[in-house]
Amino acid sequence: MKNIRYTSIEGNSLKFLGLLGVFGFFILLGFLAFLKMEHEGHWITGMNNQVIWGMPHIFAIFLIVAASGALNVASIASVFNKSFYKPLAKLSAVLSLALLAGGLAVLLLDLGRPDRLIVAITYYNFKSIFAWNIILYTGFFGIVGIYLWTMLDWQVEKYKRIAGTAAFIWRLILTTGTGSIFGFLVARSAYDAAIMAPMFVIMSFSFGLAIYILVLLASYRWTGRELGDVVITRLKNLLGVFIAATLYFSLVYHLTNLYATEHHGIEAFVLMKGGIITNMYWLGQIILGTLIPLALIYCPRPAKSNTMAVVASVLVILGGLASLYVILIGGQSYPMTLVPGYEASSTFADGAITVYSPSIWEFMLGMGGVAIALVIVTLAMKIFRLLPDSLSDKIADPHKS
């Protein structure tokens, strides 16, 4: 562990510029989508008065949730003092800041009045969990920023433990806040559950780590640095635990709902009769996002470790997006009960299941947010010395070899 040398990436190659170009292209598309939505109004999107939050929110919430999860690797190193994770900590903090920036960009650019950002900052209703989240997000930038500073500057390194602990606590509160956006909604039968908050925390562990693994692998492969199996195996196994925990929370959530007769309608909709929602749940979240990754991670080496880790991480990300689709769109398209025992019908989709068909603009905006996050990480690697020269097995785990 002593000989670890952190270096920034050179970032002059055609490949590096090409990568920035690709991200830039998606950011441009996202910006165009924002301008279009801002100019025309939201009628050009698939969102309407029934499905109020759509694709942009799925992307935004995914990125925000993943942001707090991406900090995990650093937390394990600083807070729980596991020296194995220390070389990985800097990237972890940068990635979490980048993902949060990307997610917030999408969330803010989807507002009906994005020009009134100043209002969102100057007028506060402290009973609103949304207002609390604004404080939590900005605080996250500050605290993780300081934490990153303690990791990069040896003069303030002695404060690393404190900063790391503060960041760890803050990120738990932050994801609790994000989950509570849904947990605090008394109106809709799919939400209004305290389990939403811890479920989002555990989801963040899983999504964040999956993204972290991909970014780590990509940056080592593309810069020709050595990355041993030990690191990836360790992270991959950790991912497996998080995937299983997410599955557990999803099961508890649905079992609780299934026990209460009043929730049978929404459960039947999500689990059986919801068409795309049902497919998203079983095929997307459970099979693709949970069972296959678990199999890939825990089956005794069907193939080379790295490839499996990549496939598992990609599947976790896709499954994560699917699970947020189920929570967000599923929860909104199922009608609310106006009077128990009565079927409602009206010109305003009372008692009717709304079909949501997202428009290309929403995807463009969401992908723009992803690209913002990735471009920040890429540039940060060029500017700061984030990654060890080598993470070969010998360096990562001297005891093993």
């Binding site: 025309e40 109004g41 939201h42 009628w43 309407n48 008065n49 029934q50 109020i52 939050w53 507002l111 009906g112 009045r113 994005p114 009134r116 950002l117 209002v119 969102a120 007028y123 506060y124 209703n125 009973k127 609103s128 969990i129 949304f130 207002a131 604004i134 956006i181 605090f184 909604l185 008394v186 109106a187 809709r188 909104q332 609310m336 009960t337 106006l338 009077v339 025992g341 009565y342 079927e343 409602a344 019908s345 009206s346 010109t347 305003f348 989709a349 009372d350 709304t354």
Partner: protein, 257 residues
């Protein structure tokens, strides 16, 4: 200096208004036989702030709400200048993005087949979830119980729409022009039934929907005033809240459910 001037002018205005308002009421009182004024709602002077002495509400008698009638909906749309904008979208899509402050809902009992018609609008809750969740405080409740959106500080996050158990709120999906003075509304903000707040402040003592209902199914009035028609009707025959289990204490009550 400007502030002082303004206050003075306001006071003068207030005085004038009281004088004019008073004499107008006297003239009206002379013109009509006193017995004819059944359900008067006392108008507040224009320069006075609303107070929690009043709590405005509606009582909807679903047994009187006629099948196939949509007079209240039309009246509301006319009163507030709500209209459909043609974007060349399919009918269902177009309907899903059009604001509806009040809508006709048909309820059918799943086991008995009993059918009820009723208008549903913002229920003007005492503890409105939309106000709780609004990050900027744009969603607010006036002292007299009317729940409104302050569009000046609404950022269009739509969290209130997620929180409303009655789907009472609509988002404005496109740019608008030529709004009516009584209902300023514009792209990217959320809106809902205002309980005809302009009419309430004007002392009209009714709402557009209540006025338009020829079947007498909608009664507007002060829930705090025990002698008002709405309070007497509620005392006599009761009235249910929609989703009463949420404990929101709605200002709109329903009979015949």
């Amino acid at each position: 200096m400007g502030q002082n001037d303004m206050n003075n002018t306001n006071k003068i205005d207030q005085y004038r208004r009281r004088l004019l308002g008073g004499s107008a009421a006297a003239v009206a009182g002379l013109a009509l036989a006193p017995g004819l004024i059944l359900n008067t709602v006392q108008a507040k002077p224009a320069a006075d702030a609303v107070s929690s002495k009043n709590r405005w509400g509606l009582l909807i008698d679903t047994t009187k709400c006629a099948d196939g009638c949509s007079d209240c909906v039309t009246a509301c749309n006319t009163e507030h200048g709500l209209r459909k904008i043609d974007h060349g979208l399919s009918e269902s899509k177009s309907e899903a993005i059009t604001s509806q402050w009040i809508r006709n809902v048909t309820l059918k009992n799943k086991s008995t087949g009993h059918t009820v018609n009723m208008p549903v609008m913002c229920q003007h809750c005492e503890n409105p979830p939309c106000v709780d969740v609004c990050p900027t405080g744009a969603s607010f409740k006036r002292d007299d119980g009317i729940v409104l959106v302050d569009k000046h500080i609404c950022i269009g996050c739509r969290y209130c729409m997620m929180a409303c158990p009655y789907k009472a709120r609509s988002f404005i999906h496109e740019a608008l022009t030529d709004q009516l003075a009584v209902a300023p509304r514009g792209k990217g903000t959320v809106e809902s039934c205002t309980l005809c707040v302009h009419k309430v402040d004007n002392g009209d003592g009714t709402t557009a929907c209540a006025e338009a209902c020829t079947h007498g199914a909608i009664t507007f009035g002060d829930l705090n005033d025990k002698s008002s028609l709405i309070s007497k009707k509620l005392e006599m025959s009761g009235g249910r809240q929609l989703r009463a289990e949420l404990g929101l204490n709605t200002g709109v009550r329903y009979q015949g459910l």
